[in-house]
């Protein structure tokens, strides 16, 4: 069974928590992800950017286990994970958010987060305690008794992050968590993520359109265009590369 073929991969480089190796995915005629490779170092913040339709979400879904790659391999913490199911991916230590937020609407904010925390805490009382910590980090503690359906979009974005964090991931995958946030809210989210990264050593891989956040957060950036990686490096350098400016940012974005 291909789904369960994860095995030890001794060749994985120790410092890379996540290694994407020559991953491709085709949807009929469209090559959505074209031979993409990159490594996310332990404890770093890594961003994937690119125009709409560049294949970012497809790549994200492959890492998160929503679909299997046609070719290539993915190693996480030294083990092959491509083709595993989303719940198996999560149990190995990868938490994710959804671009179009998916809260448990009828449940309270606290229950939403506590359910995430139950992955490693079978006692709901302990999970609730962990949920409280995370809710405080994400400024949602005061709203913990509200049903998730009552939250505003920025709060729902924060709830996505809180719920994923509650599973105690080693790697956090963020799918456009800044989209729809006001600049002040973006800055707040950036500071929360920076703090988490610095204080807990959490590794973060984000797909992001909001360049303000990418520039502030990421140590390395990968640019996708038509499914292929066209540039990779430090954000300041990447945004000045002509290919990136032409395909994605536009000249006015570099200021």
């Amino acid at each position: 069974m291909a789904r369960r073929q994860a095995r030890r991969d001794g060749a994985a480089i120790m410092s890379a928590l996540l290694s994407i190796d020559a991953v491709s995915k085709r949807f009929r005629g469209l090559l959505a992800v074209d031979n993409v490779s990159f490594r996310v170092a332990q404890g770093s913040i890594f961003a994937v950017i690119g125009p709409n339709g560049a294949g970012k979400t497809t790549l994200f879904n492959i890492i998160a286990g929503m679909s299997a790659p046609d070719r290539g391999s993915i190693a996480f913490a030294g083990e092959r994970i491509e083709g595993l199911t989303p719940d198996e991916i999560c149990r190995r230590g990868i938490g994710r958010t959804f671009q179009l937020v998916r809260p448990f609407p009828a449940l309270s904010v606290e229950d939403n987060v506590a359910i995430g925390a139950m992955l490693h805490r079978h006692d709901p009382a302990l999970a609730r305690r962990r949920a409280h910590e995370v809710l405080k980090q994400l400024d949602l503690f005061g709203k913990r008794h509200q049903p998730a359906s009552a939250l505003t979009l920025p709060d729902r974005k924060r709830l996505e992050v809180a719920r994923a964090l509650a599973t105690d991931p080693k790697l956090l995958l963020l799918d456009e968590v800044m989209a729809g946030l006001r600049p002040a809210e973006t800055d707040r989210m950036v500071s929360v993520l920076t703090t988490l990264n610095r204080e807990t050593g959490l590794t973060i891989l984000l797909i992001e359109h909001v360049m303000r956040a990418v520039m502030a957060l990421a140590a390395r950036v990968l640019v996708l265009h038509h499914g292929a990686a066209i540039a990779e490096g430090a954000p300041e350098a990447v945004v000045r590369e002509p290919a990136v400016v032409q395909s994605y940012l536009g000249a006015e974005a570099v200021d």
Partner: protein
């Protein structure tokens, strides 16, 4: 332990629950035979509604064929009693095992091959219909002409063989209802209960939080099927007859789910309130009609329809969430 069971439940809620329990315990001293029969039917539908609620209300998996578990449970225990002289308590184990196996097959087929929503509901109807037609031709248990247990001797109550007067049956059904209520309460507050609710609310999001949704949906089906089969055993020994066209009929499955829908899907009290409202009101309406000398066949069904209409329009969440708010017994957790 006991304190933790009531954590977050307002004191008034505990008090009301105690009063309700005392009233139900004392009922046989106050009620006549007719009223006791009505109470047995109410508790029976509260119990089966509670069992169905585990699957639909907690885990979000709509079963429209729950009669299959009642029927399998009833036939299993009755067959063991009639053919092998084994009592209902041994039959109970067999009934649960058969219903659990049946639920596991339905659940496996549906969840392994991604059959969800409406299609899952249709699958549950299909299995109940298979059972109905199959038992029609199953001569060992009487086929379509029915399967009969030796009629009860009312001279003394025999709990071991479930032979006795209505008061005994009433207490058995009350015990089952209280046990189901307690079990659901514990389940809902444990990890499995939270995981079910996560699956009900958003299965994709649930998986991304590490929940093996296949496994937890299977737990829901299997627990619900096992609980429902217990009601089937009661049904067989209380009525002493089983007809495939009745026990497996889709109208039985529908009747079974009306209580929790009207009372409040996914709530602990919903099935209980729904059973009281539906059975209580329809029986009293029947009484009034009889007293007025009116003969109106099908009035019960029309009444069920009206109840459903009113509740769906006025209280789409069901009666209990609204009633709990009025009584001030909404559970709050800190």
């Amino acid at each position: 332990m006991i304190a933790r069971l009531f954590e977050g439940v307002p004191r008034r809620g505990v008090a009301l629950l105690s009063v309700l329990l005392v009233v139900l315990l004392a009922a046989p001293w106050m009620a006549n035979d007719y009223l006791l029969t009505v109470l047995i039917i109410i508790l029976y539908s509260a119990y089966t509604g509670q069992a169905w609620n585990v699957m639909m209300g907690f885990a979000g998996q709509l079963s429209l064929g729950h009669a299959i578990y009642v029927g399998l449970g009833g036939y299993a225990a009755a067959a063991l009693y009639v053919h092998f002289g084994l009592g209902p308590w041994i039959g109970l184990a067999a009934a649960i095992a058969i219903a659990v196996a049946c639920g596991a097959v339905i659940g496996f087929l549906a969840f392994r091959f991604g059959v969800g929503g409406v299609y899952f509901a249709i699958l549950t109807i299909a299995f109940a219909e298979f059972a109905r037609i199959g038992f029609d031709h199953f001569g060992w248990v009487g086929g379509s002409s029915g399967f009969f247990l030796p009629v009860a001797n009312y001279t003394r109550n025999d709990l071991w063989n479930l032979r006795g007067n209505p008061t005994m049956f009433y207490y058995v059904m009350l015990a089952l209802t209280v046990a189901a209520f307690g079990l659901c309460h514990v389940l809902l507050r444990s990890r499995v209960g939270y995981y079910w609710q996560a699956i009900r609310e958003d299965e994709v999001a649930a998986r991304s939080l590490g929940i093996n949704t296949f496994r937890y949906k299977m737990y829901a089906v299997v627990i619900s099927a096992g609980m429902t089969a217990v009601a089937g055993v009661f049904f067989a020994f209380y009525y002493n007859n089983l007809f495939p066209e009745q026990v497996f009929h889709i109208s039985r499955s529908i009747e079974l789910i009306l209580g929790p829908i009207i009372g409040g899907i996914g709530t602990l009290f919903g099935p209980l309130i729904g059973a009281f409202l539906l059975t209580g009101l329809s029986e009293s309406m029947q009484e009034i009609l009889t007293a007025l000398g009116l003969d109106a066949p099908g009035a019960k069904q029309v009444f069920y329809g009206l109840c459903l209409l009113v509740v769906v329009m006025a209280l789409p969440e069901g009666v209990w969430p609204w009633l709990a708010g009025k009584l001030g017994v909404t559970v709050r957790r800190s």
